[in-house]
Each structure stands twice: as C-alpha cells, then as structure tokens.
C-alpha cells in the first residue's frame, strides 16, 4: 500500500516536471544580451546582379563605395583572336560613423552620418525600429537567438544640401534577417548573406559588420 502511494506521488511529480518543461517553450528569449549602445567598427557589403556590383567597405572612420560594371565582350583580333571584358569602376569615399542602439524594450535606433570627401555634402540616415530574436528552425539549421530580425518603423534621409526624405511604417513591416556570429559584452558580429533568383536573374547580397560598445 505504502509502495503504491509512493509510486503515485512519483508519477505526479514526473508529470508536473514534464508539464513544467513545456513552460520553457512559452518563455521569452533573453533580450538583455544585445541591449546597449554600439558603434560599427568594420563593415563590408556587396550587392551584385547581372554584370553590376555595388561594394561598400567601412573601417570605423572611412567608407569606400565602389560601383563596377563588366561589359562589352569584344573580340580582340591580334595577335590571336580572343574575347575580352572591360570593367568600369567608380569609387567614392566618405568620412563618418555608424551607430546602432538596441534597447531592452525591443526597439532600436540606427544612425549613420557621412561626409562625401569629394563634394563635401553630408548625408544622414536615421532608422527607428523593432528587433526580435527568432525561434529555432530545424530545416534552416538555426537555433533560438541565432538570428536577429530587424523591422524598420521610420526611415529618414537628410543632407545638408536640402534633401529630406522620410518614410514612416506602421504595423507588421517586413523583417530583415541577420545571422548572429558573435554576441559578447564587448563585440557583436552580424552577417546577412542571401541569393535571389528572379526569373533567371540572380541577385546576391553579402553584408558583414562588427559592432563594439560606444
């Protein structure tokens, strides 16, 4: 009789623990890991489609933007006939900074200010938005907190030349997805790498950036 009671109590406890463990599937992701005021100390980015490529590099102070287009395959007749590709490059350099502040309430503020070293025009981009961690996904092989989703709510672009553009979003705007490669107190490394094939044209985007506390 005593044995039976002990078994039934054990069963109740085991069931409770199993039920309680499902509680963890309802819990919030830890939002404190990312929160803080950060600056971008390095960035490399490229966007390519067909024969065109847009590349950006930033070392925390100087930003170099390069546009290149490879074109006109021509037959060179001499000395031996062969094809040749001409690549046109256009490079612009800027001086400035990029900062991102992730808040514990799930919002973020992104600002970038750059002065065009040739024209002297200063461009400012400001973004207010929400950030989220995504849950695990077996097929895409990402675990909980492996991906950072950023949702733009307001985007403004200003120059000291008089151009002002502002776009305000409300609701469930599209999420931009970044892989979290490093998430430490003193360093965050994010990556976006994607390839889209739209009616036989391939668009490839690669962005890597490193943040450190401001």
């Amino acid at each position: 009789m005593k044995m039976k009671k002990n078994i039934s109590l054990t069963v109740v406890i085991v069931i409770s623990i199993i039920l309680s463990s499902t509680f963890f599937s309802c819990q919030k992701a830890d939002t404190n890991k990312l929160a803080g005021d950060w600056k971008v100390v390095s960035l490399t980015s490229s966007y390519a489609y067909k024969n065109q490529k847009y590349e950006t590099s930033f070392d925390g102070y100087t930003k170099t933007y390069t546009y290149s287009v490879s074109d006109t395959v021509i037959t060179v007749p001499n000395p031996t006939p062969h094809d040749s590709t001409i690549t046109y490059y256009e490079t612009t350099t800027y001086t400035g900074e990029i900062a991102t502040d992730y808040h514990t309430d799930g919002t973020y503020v992104y600002t970038e200010t750059f002065k065009n070293n040739t024209t002297g025009v200063t461009e400012t981009i400001g973004i207010d938005g929400n950030w989220y961690f995504t849950d695990a996904n077996h097929s895409s092989e990402y675990g909980l907190d492996d991906l950072l989703a950023m949702q733009v709510n307001k985007l403004s672009y200003n120059t000291n030349f008089g151009n002002i553009y502002s776009t305000i979003y409300q609701g469930n705007n599209t999420l931009d997805i970044y892989q979290i490669l490093t998430l430490k107190k003193d360093k965050i490394v994010l990556r976006m790498e994607k390839s889209e094939n739209i009616n036989f044209i391939t668009y490839v985007t690669k962005t890597d950036f490193t943040l450190e506390p401001r």
């Binding site: 995504t134 849950d135 469930n172």
Partner: protein
C-alpha cells in the same frame, strides 16, 4: 508528518504547473490552457476558410477575398468571381508550403510558395506571437486561351520575411493578420500605401 510531506510535494507540483498555464496564452484569442505546444498546434495541413488581401495606394484599393470556395477580386467598380482552393502546410522541421488554384471560365492560375517559418516577437508583442514566413521559392502559372505564362522565384540565405500576428493558434483553427502602412512624401505630396492580409485557417487539406 507523511501528510505534510505529501501536501508539500503537491504544492511544489502546483508551482511547477501554474507558470505554464499563465504563460501559454500568447494571442488575443488563444485559449487559457492547452497541452499542445504552439509548434504542435501550427504544424498541420490547413485549408484557408477565409483570406483577404488588400492593397491601397492613396485612394486606389484592390482587394482579393476568399471565403473557402469563391475568390473575388475587386478593383474600383469592377469585380471578378472565380472558384478557388487554397491551403497551407506547416512542417515540424520548419518549412511551409502554400498552394493556390484559382480558376474561372477563361483562365487557370496556380501558385505554389515554399519557405521557412519562425516564431518570433518581443517588445510590445509576446515572444511567439509573431509568425515570420521566409519565402525561398514560388512558381506562378497562368493559363489563358491555351497560352501559359510562368513566373519563377528561388532564393537562399538570410532572406527578408513577411510577418503575421497570430491572433488565435488552436489545434483546429488559426487566425492571423498582417497590416503594413507606409507613408512618405513624393513630389510634395504625401503618399499612403497600406497592405493588409487576413488569414483564417481550418483543419485539413482540401
């Protein structure tokens, strides 16, 4: 003493269970208590019982509405009625497949979309209150008068996602919606774009 011990154990069990009951209500119309996880509730073959997609650009509105059998497109004073089948399957491994077939006397349109799904949320929403759909491919075909046109999309990597708020996630019914408003100034004029999608799902593939 024995009774006190047993009482203490029962209290511990209660403490273990209570947080689960309170924390699992995520969407506005979710039930207060369920034994099924959100993943188990979502990962099934679903039929659309209702779907409405509205795109507004300033005063111009185009809407597509489906009631489980008829698909109605409204553009200004014009409306077109077709018969349709719409379904979506969420897989436990994290993929989804969305299928549509819309046909009338003169045309047949088919749409198949595949991708990954993620629960997400935070800030003003609960974690897992948002459902992000990351499309990795779609194929659209339209057959009109013996001519077939096809539109293909395929992608990989860290693609942007559409996002829905899960209002109700039950074992036999899902309600979700997405609304995005975009306001900007173009040529001195304020432009307003609104895109709204309302989806109700019911159990079983059609």
């Amino acid at each position: 003493m024995k009774n006190a011990k047993r009482f203490l154990l029962l209290i511990i069990c209660g403490i273990l269970i209570i947080p689960m009951v309170n924390s699992c209500k995520v969407g506005d119309e979710d039930s207060d208590f369920t034994f099924y996880t959100r993943k188990v509730r979502l990962c099934q073959d679903w039929s659309f019982s209702y779907y409405k997609h509205t795109v507004q650009h300033n005063d111009t509105i185009v809407s597509n509405e489906y009631d489980g059998s008829s698909y109605i497109t409204v553009y200004g004073n014009h409306s077109y009625i077709s018969s349709a089948i719409m379904g979506i399957t969420f897989n436990k491994k994290g993929t989804y497949t969305w299928n549509e077939q819309i046909s009338n006397d003169t045309s047949v349109y088919t749409y198949k979309e595949e991708g990954y799904w993620y629960f997400t949320g935070g800030g003003e929403t609960n974690f897992k209150e948002l459902l992000a759909l990351q499309k990795t491919s779609h194929t659209k075909t339209l057959q009109v008068g013996g001519i077939t046109t096809t539109d293909n999309y395929s992608a990989s990597g860290n693609l942007g996602t559409t996002v829905y708020r899960l209002i109700k996630l039950a074992k036999d019914e899902v309600k979700m919606e997405s609304k995005v408003e975009r306001q900007y100034i173009e040529g001195g004029q304020t432009v307003l774009d609104i895109e709204t999608t309302v989806i109700n799902l019911t159990m079983g593939a059609q």
